[in-house]
């Protein structure tokens, strides 16, 4: 046979002009050729697989570095059916709570070579579902979702995808103490217990008519409400008129509004338990404006310990929620799931801390 014979043999090797479709980037086989090994070996070496000659590994790393090789995530995702993206869905970015959550997630994932793809649901199950439909085809390596409140279709998407998923901020219900807990991976704390703690604190301070004021009535807010209600019912102090629920988003202005409404509805109210610090801050300022002494005439408490709560007049009593830790631990747990490792505590309770300042 003539060695000048046509195509079949080594199609890429002598290719100087490259294929018309080539992207121009340095590829795995470029590096392989330079080092004098196969592309597969380079692939293995660069991914840090075992069973590659350490000397080769070194040479390959050097060549890759020198040639400016950067792996192509699309090719990798297509070939391996995996990506390094982790989809993170939060309800909102305008609450520092979720920003803190995201920051710590990002830190843990990034260090492990994964990337957070952030989606915002605006507390809307339909929007969450659409985001899942949009981003699941990207084959994220894992999912980090806020809460458990998903549409049935979203649940199905999640289940069908088979992608590991950790739920953040709240804990799955444990029906019977004697019974084994639900094994759905989740990291958070008991929102209901935190609601109980704040309410008990107000009772200890001698408050009798404690109103619960909330906006943005998501599942977690309602759990706090349940905690509050339980305590008041135990004490025979519960009255439905003490429940001020506002379905739309929270804001400082809403706090002023709810304080006004509460006192109009029942002037005997002596404490306001707000579901979030931002409305509590607004209420505090409204009290200042109207000359209502806090805490003497009215105790005010918030939730989450957001920036500025310690600066208020008076500083706001609140519950510090461990969102940084929740983000970090969720990401860590997800990484374990992605790697197929056993998760020791798939239902991780990180607790909360009552921060008593001068507003109560």
């Amino acid at each position: 046979m003539d060695s000048n014979a046509s195509p079949p043999s080594s199609p890429r090797s002598a290719a100087r002009g490259r294929s018309p479709r080539a992207s121009g980037r340095v590829t795995l086989s470029d590096v392989a050729q330079a080092v004098g090994v196969s592309a597969m070996t380079v692939s293995r070496a660069l991914r840090g697989e075992r069973r590659v000659d350490p000397l080769l590994v070194e040479k390959i790393h050097a060549a890759a570095e020198r040639m400016g090789y950067v792996p192509d995530p699309a090719a990798r995702a297509l070939a391996s059916q995996k990506s390094t993206q982790v989809l993170v869905l939060v309800p909102l970015l305008s609450n520092t709570l979720f920003v803190d959550l995201i920051e710590s997630i990002h830190k843990v994932l990034f260090a492990a070579g994964y990337h957070a793809l952030i989606g915002v649901t605006h507390y809307d199950r339909a929007e969450e579902e659409q985001l899942l439909r949009t981003y699941l085809p990207l084959r994220p390596a894992g999912l980090l979702l806020t809460g458990f409140d998903h549409s049935p279709a979203a649940r199905k998407l999640l289940a069908d995808s088979g992608i590991p998923c950790v739920h953040m901020m709240e804990l799955s219900a444990v029906d019977q103490p004697s019974q084994l807990a639900d094994q759905t991976p989740c990291v958070g704390f008991s929102q209901a217990e935190a609601g109980v703690a704040i309410t008990r604190h107000l009772l200890e301070r001698g408050r009798r008519r404690i109103a619960f004021c909330a906006g943005q009535l998501d599942a977690r807010v309602m759990q706090r409400a349940a905690g509050w209600r339980t305590v008041l019912e135990q004490q025979g102090l519960y009255d439905p008129a003490l429940e001020l629920l506002w379905p739309r988003p929270t804001s400082m202005a809403l706090g002023a509004e709810l304080l006004t409404q509460a006192l109009q509805r029942d002037p005997a109210i002596d404490a306001l338990f707000f579901c979030n610090d931002d409305i509590a801050q607004g209420a505090l300022l409204e009290a200042l404006r109207r000359g209502i002494p806090v805490p003497e005439r009215l105790a005010i408490t918030g939730f989450n310990d957001l920036p500025g709560s310690d600066q208020m007049l008076p500083p706001l009593t609140t519950v510090r929620t461990p969102r940084g830790a929740i983000g970090a631990e969720s990401a860590q747990m997800l990484l374990q799931l992605i790697r197929g490792e056993l998760v020791a505590t798939p239902r991780l309770d990180l607790g909360y801390e009552l921060v008593v300042r001068q507003s109560s």
Copy 2:
């Protein structure tokens, strides 16, 4: 030839058991087979290319829908060297400013079939550079960056990538009014002019000793400072002692601290121009705590008109920045660049609005 003859012909067609590497998802050829056309036609039809029989288009859409076909972004990116991701880099998420920016970017991009990939630089050029290194290989369709302050290496990465890019929040410098402006695409407003406007307002209110108090000394803050300085110099009122610059992040607590420092340094100061609303709010609360009458004894102004500024005691005078519009217009401009369209105004000035409330 025996029709039972082996492989070469139609390798995929009769494949029931599929290849061992197949992902299980419905592919383009599945749809093609169902409709009885080639995969190429399905590809064209689904992407809405012209020159496909309208009847076929309809049949193909129906089949795709029925079979649950979802395009594979990785395969698409690999084959076309394009993705639908747009990389959005912001300094911070804990400032509502950037959250508003992101929200409106997301809305515009999502509607056009693109997705925002959010990265946070923490005002750190090295971190920005690392993010670019990490995400540029994803072949984002475009880039949306905050400001113009990039490391030299980052500049090179940007230039080499050839990916369209719009800079947000500030405007490129125009050296000579008569000269053609720099054509780097950007959407924002003149930070310096806004600084001038606030300072003039304070002068009009009869203030003489106006301090500039800032944290997080990024380029935009320094431009506001320059505006302030220019005005004071024109009036012969400039004094370096009036400049209180704090390199670390802003917070309400910092506002309290800077107010204290300013009055210690010079008790004659009669106005404080804060670079951001959060520190201004902190200062306002500190004034309240110390019984300093605002604005009688001390005028206080902020920047950005963040949530809560209208709730303060007294409500805060500030500059409303058009971040929503900046996000939307930047995204729109980027889409034009991606599509190779001509951009009418590559340097888009969206202005600002002085919001005079009772603190000045």
